[in-house]
């Protein structure tokens, strides 16, 4: 899959970006940009608008002020969706399908990275023995690992991750950081939210603080 934006263009540009619900400001106005190879942390207390920011950037919500460009296009447009993979609080795994079937569904919808190998990725995520288990039998942390493994198989260069550390043990946190490092090394970028209680990825480009 080719990236439509020229390499020099930032993956995300936000100018005065803000969102409000019934005249009440949820976040913003924000000005920032995210370049290729950069991992940015969005930090803020509960209710500071981290999830809303990611939903605006993925195109699920329309900003009330300012504008954002994702991969050179409007958020949610076909061009933006083609290069963007999101992981939210709801993981989107089907409980009645096995881990492997869920991964195959993800790559069926989004395409697979050329060098990606589902089996190796499951081993990397610590789910080696669970490929044929229905997802509903897994623990919350294992479900999160399965969702992360699915994410890492996709070719999308831009990741929007909402609280990827939630429910994970220490090894899981290291897994997220390893996936982020690999993604940045391939030239990908990610916007990651966290309420700031974990050991975050060390190569972080910058931190965006919300709700101060």
């Amino acid at each position: 899959m080719s990236l439509h934006a020229a390499p020099a263009d930032p993956f995300i540009v936000a100018r005065g970006l803000g969102y409000g619900r019934r005249d009440e400001r949820v976040f913003g106005p924000l000005d920032f940009s995210l370049d290729a190879g950069c991992i940015a942390l969005v930090e803020g207390d509960n209710g500071s608008g981290k999830t809303t920011l990611l939903r605006v950037l993925s195109g699920l919500l329309h900003p009330t002020t300012g504008e954002a460009r994702v991969l050179g296009a409007a958020p949610g447009s076909e061009q933006a969706r083609a290069g963007c993979a999101a992981l939210g609080h709801l993981l989107g795994l089907k409980g009645d399908l096995t881990v492997q079937e869920n991964l195959a569904l993800g790559t069926g919808l989004y395409g697979a990275r050329e060098d990606a190998d589902a089996q190796a990725m499951l081993e990397h995520a610590g789910l080696a023995g669970y490929a044929h288990e229905p997802v509903r039998t897994l623990s919350a942390g294992q479900k999160k690992r399965a969702a992360l493994a699915r994410l890492a198989l996709l070719p999308a260069p831009l990741w929007l991750l909402d609280e990827p550390y939630a429910n994970l043990d220490r090894n899981g946190i290291a897994l997220v950081n390893a996936l982020l490092a690999g993604h940045a090394a391939r030239g990908g970028a990610a916007l990651v939210t966290s309420h700031g209680a974990v050991a975050f990825y060390e190569g972080v480009g910058y931190t965006l603080r919300l709700g101060t």
């Binding site: 899959m1 195109g59 999101a86 399908l97 919808l109 989004y110």
Partner: protein, 228 residues
């Protein structure tokens, strides 16, 4: 995006829905049992007069099958909304209408097809003439596909609303009126030995239109319903 991405996504979605239905195949049996029981009630309510039952058999089977299809319609998107899979469909690079077309086909295969297959037995039980049986089957194939398409568009509109089942019935049943009129008209004509092709041709024309427009309408309806 390569040219193979669209069929791949369509098949992935179709496969997902069929596998999910197979894992819960007991649920798929419920509408069939419902149709069998409702049809059995008619002879009890109207008496065992053969001529009367044979005359109403086509209409009874049609209406029963359409109502049975409604039973599980409001659950089409509920699971996906609750576990976040619906958001992933919205965010997928493929056109949402394509994914919705796959879901419509899957719902028809899983819910409508078993009902259509059991319908000739129900009609036989009520004494429908053998000559009218193929017409009933043809009418049901067309009518069930048409209502599957219309029903899922309306389900997309009501996604996220509470008690959507009742609302959905109230919205879909008026749309089902012309479908029932044409389908029952064809069966009635066949029973009387009259030409029956015209009403079925109307149904087929409506189905051709819906096949093109319904996935697009469904995608738009979903985006409207989830934009909050």
């Amino acid at each position: 995006m390569s040219a193979s991405a669209l069929p791949r996504a369509f098949l992935a979605m179709l496969r997902r829905d069929v596998v999910l239905a197979w894992r819960r195949r007991g649920d798929a049996l419920l509408p069939v049992l419902y149709a069998v029981i409702v049809t059995t009630l008619f002879p009890f309510a109207l008496g065992p007069e053969h001529a009367l039952l044979a005359r109403i058999s086509g209409g009874v089977v049609l209406v029963t099958v359409l109502l049975a299809m409604l039973l599980s319609l409001d659950a089409v998107f509920r699971g996906d909304l609750e576990d976040g899979a619906l958001e992933h469909m919205l965010l997928a690079p493929q056109p949402l209408a394509l994914l919705m077309a796959a879901r419509m086909l899957a719902y028809w295969l899983v819910t409508a097809l078993p009902l259509v297959l059991v319908a000739p037995l129900l009609a036989y039980m009520l004494g429908l003439d053998a000559v009218a049986q193929p017409v009933l089957l043809l009418a049901l194939l067309l009518a069930s596909a048409l209502l599957d398409l219309l029903g899922i568009v309306l389900t997309a509109l009501t996604v996220g609303t509470r008690r959507s089942g009742m609302l959905l019935s109230l919205m879909l049943l008026p749309l089902a009126v012309p479908v029932v009129i044409f389908a029952a008209g064809a069966v009635g004509a066949a029973q009387q030995g009259l030409p029956w092709i015209a009403p079925l041709a109307w149904l087929a024309a409506a189905l051709a239109l819906a096949l093109v427009l319904a996935p697009l309408a469904c995608a738009t309806a979903l985006r409207i319903a989830l934009d909050s």
